[in-house]
């Protein structure tokens, strides 16, 4: 173990880490908010021409992944290593499916190119920045999974799991706002 010895010190460190992570979310939210502003400023009440079924599917995939992420965190806090590893794997797979849906399918089949007007600009930039965050989330989860296999996390000490779970939920939350802004709102 690291040089943290007493539980009080660990608790203090935990509080510091948690605050830091939440401040990071606050900061990142401004970036996502800025893109949202750009979408409404340029397109107003216009809806983008997108594949509705695909949008719904990837949204469901991401929401379900968040559920499994939560399960993983609950399992490790109960000390259930096997269940924790299984849930993490499911989360990662769902995350990859989401990426494949957005970048692999939607980007290739969209009715407009990246350089075609405000519609192309807004759609590719918003989904692109979100997909980049999902990708980093998947990388964190892979690291957590690997360290989980080594038995680095215990029911008492598993901040890395908690942090990546919160990050995953944050990305999910962003999508919950982006999905209607891109797919549902406005007039065709």
């Amino acid at each position: 173990m690291s040089s943290i010895t007493s539980s009080a010190q660990y608790q203090k460190k935990l509080a510091i880490n948690r605050l830091g992570l939440w401040l990071f979310f606050a900061s990142d939210a401004f970036m996502f908010g800025g893109l949202l502003v750009a979408r409404f400023y340029l397109l107003g009440n216009r809806r983008l021409e997108l594949e509705q079924t695909l949008g719904l599917i990837v949204t469901v995939v991401l929401l379900v992944s968040s559920f499994f992420m939560n399960r993983a965190e609950v399992m490790i806090s109960k000390g259930n290593q096997k269940g924790f590893q299984r849930s993490i794997i499911v989360t990662i797979v769902l995350g990859i499916l989401f990426l494949a849906g957005v970048v692999g399918v939607e980007w290739q089949t969209a009715h407009f190119q990246v350089n075609e007007g405000a519609q192309g600009a807004v759609f590719y930039m918003m989904t692109g920045m979100h997909a980049f965050h999902v990708l980093t989330g998947i990388i964190f989860l892979l690291i957590v999974y690997r360290n989980g296999l080594k038995g680095k996390y215990t029911a008492e000490k598993h901040y890395a799991v908690e942090a990546s779970a919160n990050y995953w939920h944050f990305i999910d939350l962003v999508w919950i706002i982006y999905y209607p802004a891109l797919y549902l709102m406005g007039l065709i």
Binding site: S2, S3, I4, I16, L23, S27, L42, A118, A121
Partner: protein, 617 residues
Amino acid sequence: MRKIWSIGLIRALIFQILGSAIGAGLLGLIRLAMGLSWKTEPALVVGGFIGAIFFMIGIGGFSGWWKMAMGEDVPEAHDVTEPEGIRRYFGFSLDHKVIGIQYGILSMVLLSVGGSLALIFRTELASSGLQILDFVQFNTLVGLHGMVLIASILMGVAAMGNYVVPLMIGAEDMAFPRLNAFSFWIAVPATVLLLSAMLFGGFETGWTAYPPLSVRGPMGIQLFFAGVYIVGWSSILGALNLIVTTLKMRVKGMKLFVMPIFAWAVLATSIISLTATQLIGLSFQLVMFERLLGMGFFTPSNGGNPILFQHLFWFYSHPAVYIFVLPGLGIISELLPVFVRKPLFGYKWVAMSSMGIALTGYLVWGHHMFTSGIEEYLRVPFMYSTLLVAVPTGVKFFSWVATLWQGKLRFPVPMLFILGAIIVFLIGGLTGPPSGTVSTDLHLHDTYYIVGHFHATMFGGFIFPIFAAIYYWYPKITGRKMNDTLGKIHFYLMTPAFLVTSFGQMQIGMLGMRRRIADYDPTLGFDTSHLIITIAGYLIGVSVLIFFINLIISAKRGEVATGNVWQSRSPEWSILPSPSPVHNYKGMPFEVVGEPYDYGLEGSNYVLPVNQTGQAD
């Protein structure tokens, strides 16, 4: 050879060059595989970012985190043994004091670079006609002068925050030491990128980079964007660290409202940089992609709207001004009681006015756009919110005046700079409202009046205070005082020279001198004024040169000062010896027993070592 290689900075710079080449080359290969020909602009962007990442690998910025990710044990920051001596300052140190000084050095280097750029184009402007520069060179210099000094100020703010805040609140270090070192070092490749914009054609847009101009001009703008973008990361992460440190790492007994007032100022500043900085990054990122991929964000012929950029850009770049000045105003409030020998008047109001300025700062960005064709109905609300900033700023001025009143004023060099800061910031502040009311701003917008006003706020809010701070905390860093005579020459040369430039700029601006022009109509009769402004500008340069000489020679030859040189009540002076030891207060625990600025209150103490209060630790 191995000796040179062991110096982190040099190793990292070599890595950066390699990384840039690898990034650019890889992109070229990928494009080749896709059947596309070589294109310099995307190669510059990709190479720039990869180069910055390689720099961080070279300096060792990722090694701790990599080990953590690989599940290895990583020692706590204070258990890491670091090289002794001067070498520490050129490598990846985790000590907040070392990082603070690194920030300070980078800030001063950028200050001299940015100032020199200004002197070059001031020479061009000394008389009408084009003498030494062409249009693109002039515009590049103007734009880089702005952004390099913004970077310098951000580094200076971080320097003060890093060095002083943990000492003031009795923390052993910053909350996240590795992140702290990362935030500093990532700024180094960023400034390299920023300055290299000059080598790749420069850019024509000034520091504001308004599209569609920035979408068309030379490609140096991409390196400018990349540099600013990465400086933005540095600023965001540094701010995050300072907020957590201030909220979670205070010593026993230090409630928020008995913190030294400077900590409040840094907290307010950090809240703005944490959040608003994202928006300048985003706005530059969007232009970057518009240039690379032809995305239609800001070009009307492709469905975009140039006003959107201005909204995103100023949402950061106005609050940015408060990021720059709040720490400086905090320095004024912090040092004034020490040299006036009486309490800071209205501590809570001063602390809250910093927060007030930070919060109103979010609501006023539109006043940069009164003439730019924003939605008509937005102009009057933005005028109201803009003028509201005067209220918390006024509270600060009145509190300073009340602090001065009936004190016993001493005038060592830091105090001179504090008084200079108040006067210059007063001029900067008072010249603000005419550009805040819409109708008068229709005349003033984009003139030298704005240039004069802005430079007065920057000098009063940052340049004078940081000089005061350096003269004040120099003994804490080196154990020696800076030379008094040289300090006084610096002050008495810089202050009048600055006032001349600022008043001169405002006057010709009101008479019709536009901003950012390489040449002006000789029939307007501005030649004499411009010549005087240029001469005064050079005098400022000379005075800063004197300061640098003083800074360097005093480290070896200055008068030894190990004790509480200024008779301050703050813990970094009253508890800690000078120069400050490596592990801060380790072995000399203290707690807060009183209020910070009760100068002259019989028998009161702000902080006391723990064993003297009669309590066991």
